[in-house]
Point group: C2
Chain length 404, copies 2
């Protein structure tokens, strides 16, 4: 009834990238590799409880008053130092903005840059939440492929030559969502060169950069930025806890000013109490030590999943071998639609779930990929679930083989 | 350098409604009636500290995991019951969405409804934050005047006749920001009739409704809604504490679906930890009793400001007499620009500040009003500040009088 009053971006006939993303399966034996959630049993609950208590003790009533649009200055200083140490980004607290998770940071960048029809380049597959944020501002998408060492820069340059109006490139360089791929240092440097030459902004979304299971974090793309055209985004959701809803971005100059300008009208400021608690948590605890605990667990879970992919899946299936992060990407033979397969066979028969790949493509034009998340379960649970999934995939692949 | 890449909404040459809104004055004797902040000394700090502790004890790690896009179901149920009791709105937890303050709720409604150029009616003067949110979606504004009993409905209907494409009307019916005016019950009912006849959405923004110093809260406009075309918005910022950043909205049907659709891409969900703490706070404490404490203080502060306006201000000045909320609105003679007066004379000479009225008008075309907030200071401080302000206003008014 009210549909004629809605904005085009809210048109109910256009499927939202995120709605219905996570299949539900209430069977008692259900095993989910779908949601990209960190493992709850590793959350530092008591430490964070104490941090809330101590932050309130330290600051009293003032902690609960309106604060600043950029967010808690002490936490911003710590995050600036942290990305300096681990990402070689030379920056200051004044360049850091606290946001509602990394998601709001992505949305604010889109809001600051995109008029309807503006051109955006994204690697494919890519993070669905970024597509959901960009979709709000009705861009024209250009898809650029991924290679084992990250974004295909030759393809990107060809795309830029054909579409010199491209304003924004979105990339997840570290332990990419959904594929687990990491961009090489050489490519990071070359990407900034391309941005300088073709005059576009790079949105570097890096929530998983601390969670490498083989090597230390690489220099951020932002570390090669000399013209203030890279916005770096990260989050506490994966290395601490999601419900703190604390992400952050690093930006400079005109871009920072534009982001702050659109931020006022969006929500004024974010949750001062939780920012203060995170700041106290980082004073009372060693965040890097906590991250090492996470890495020791996730490394085993990642290895269990890769082992199962090797042992239990048919030869026709390709998969990535991530060196960090949360995800594995699996490619089935071209004729198989992983969404239909999940709904019609795998959930009803095996009670295992994943995220079908279609939603990770801006034009929803690829259907045979799927994302697996290995962080939610123990290695034993992963082995059980992957065996069940592998058997289903084998059956599906068998049906695609020629009879003679 | 990067300006050519920005979206129109982020154009740095267009003044943002909220930036520079609050004058700064670091003089030791400075008294500010500018920011609309609640009084910190009344915050229930120990009770909220305990609520955070107990919420974490009760739910443990799960409290910190990704939750739901609409927010904590128990808190939503309590808010639905609360607006039922105090605003006669019959609704359910399923119709409530938790947001980053009331500000995000306003922004989500704008995002769900407005394409560039769409027509929006606002009462003038109106809340600057709402203008900042609407500005992001580049609407065409229609200004409708206020009367002592709220929006001028005759003027609104005339505007609707001339501009039948108006999609959205924004109003603050209870203890209006910035004027303190309250809309009569009869007008609330008539406004819904107009919305039904002229097919528009009403955004009812009511963060002050609990803070009436004379009477109980009136039925919400939403209580007269039979077609799902009113979105009710409120917040915990004014009755509890701002840094919890917890607002909420009530919506139905297509509108609710559209709001949730644009919400996913905006920030996924808001801060689960603070929602749980507020929920526990409302179980461990009597929120209505706390609101009564606030009202007893603010009532005296409001009376002190009105008394000072009567005693210390010249006859040429008009002002409202609020029966609740945070604000008084003062109208100086037409020739006086309250922004220039503040910057050039009042702050340098008297160290008192207010918010100049211009920013409360979507077309920035009225300059002789000003907003005073009485909640931040004691009655004695109010008396001192208002005497200083009144002397300055007298001097300014004297200059506008004809010499002969």
């Amino acid at each position: 009834m009210m549909k004629n009053l809605l904005a085009q971006r809210a048109n109910p006939d256009v499927t939202s990238a995120l709605s219905g993303l996570f299949p539900t399966d209430t069977h008692p034996d259900a095993i989910s590799f779908a949601a990209g959630s960190p493992r709850e049993s590793l959350f530092p609950v008591k430490e964070m409880q104490r941090a809330f208590h101590d932050a309130i003790d330290q600051q009293g009533a003032h902690l609960f008053q309106y604060q600043t649009a950029q967010g808690n200055p002490e936490l911003r200083a710590k995050l600036a130092a942290r990305i300096g140490k681990w990402g070689q980004v030379v920056t200051t607290a004044d360049n850091v903005v606290l946001t509602v998770g990394g998601q709001q940071a992505i949305e604010l960048v889109a809001k600051a840059l995109l008029d309807p029809g503006d051109e955006v380049a994204v690697e494919v597959p890519t993070y669905v939440g970024a597509l959901a944020a960009f979709d709000l501002y009705q861009p024209t998408y250009h898809a650029v492929g991924l290679q084992a060492d990250g974004l295909d820069l030759d393809q990107l340059e060809e795309t830029l030559r054909q579409h010199p109006g491209i304003k924004l490139l979105y990339t997840v360089p570290d332990y990419h969502n959904p594929t687990g791929i990491t961009m090489s240092v050489a490519k990071r440097r070359q990407l900034v060169d391309l941005a300088n030459r073709y005059d576009f902004v790079i949105l570097e979304d890096s929530p998983y950069r601390d969670l490498g299971y083989v090597q230390s974090p690489l220099p951020a793309i932002k570390s090669f930025d000399t013209q203030g055209r890279v916005v770096f985004v990260s989050s506490m959701s994966k290395i601490l806890m999601p419900a703190l809803r604390t992400g952050w971005l690093v930006a400079d100059g005109d871009l920072l000013a534009a982001i702050m300008k659109v931020r006022f009208g969006s929500d004024l400021e974010t949750t001062g109490v939780t920012h203060a608690a995170i700041n106290v948590f980082m004073e009372e605890n060693d965040l890097d030590a906590h991250v090492n605990v996470l890495k020791n667990h996730y490394r085993e879970q990642c290895a269990a999943m890769v082992a199962a992919l090797q042992a239990d899946f048919p030869d026709e299936v390709d998969f990535t071998t991530p060196q960090g992060g949360f995800f594995d990407w699996v490619t089935l033979p071209a004729g198989i639609d992983t969404g239909k397969l999940l709904a019609n066979q795998i959930i009803p028969q095996a009670h295992v779930s994943y995220v079908p790949g279609t939603n990770f493509y801006p034009n929803r034009d690829s259907h045979n990929g799927l994302r697996l998340c290995f962080t939610g379960m123990t290695p034993d649970e992963i082995a059980v679930g992957m065996k069940r999934l592998g058997d289903q995939v084998k059956a599906a692949v068998r049906e695609t083989r020629p009879v003679f």
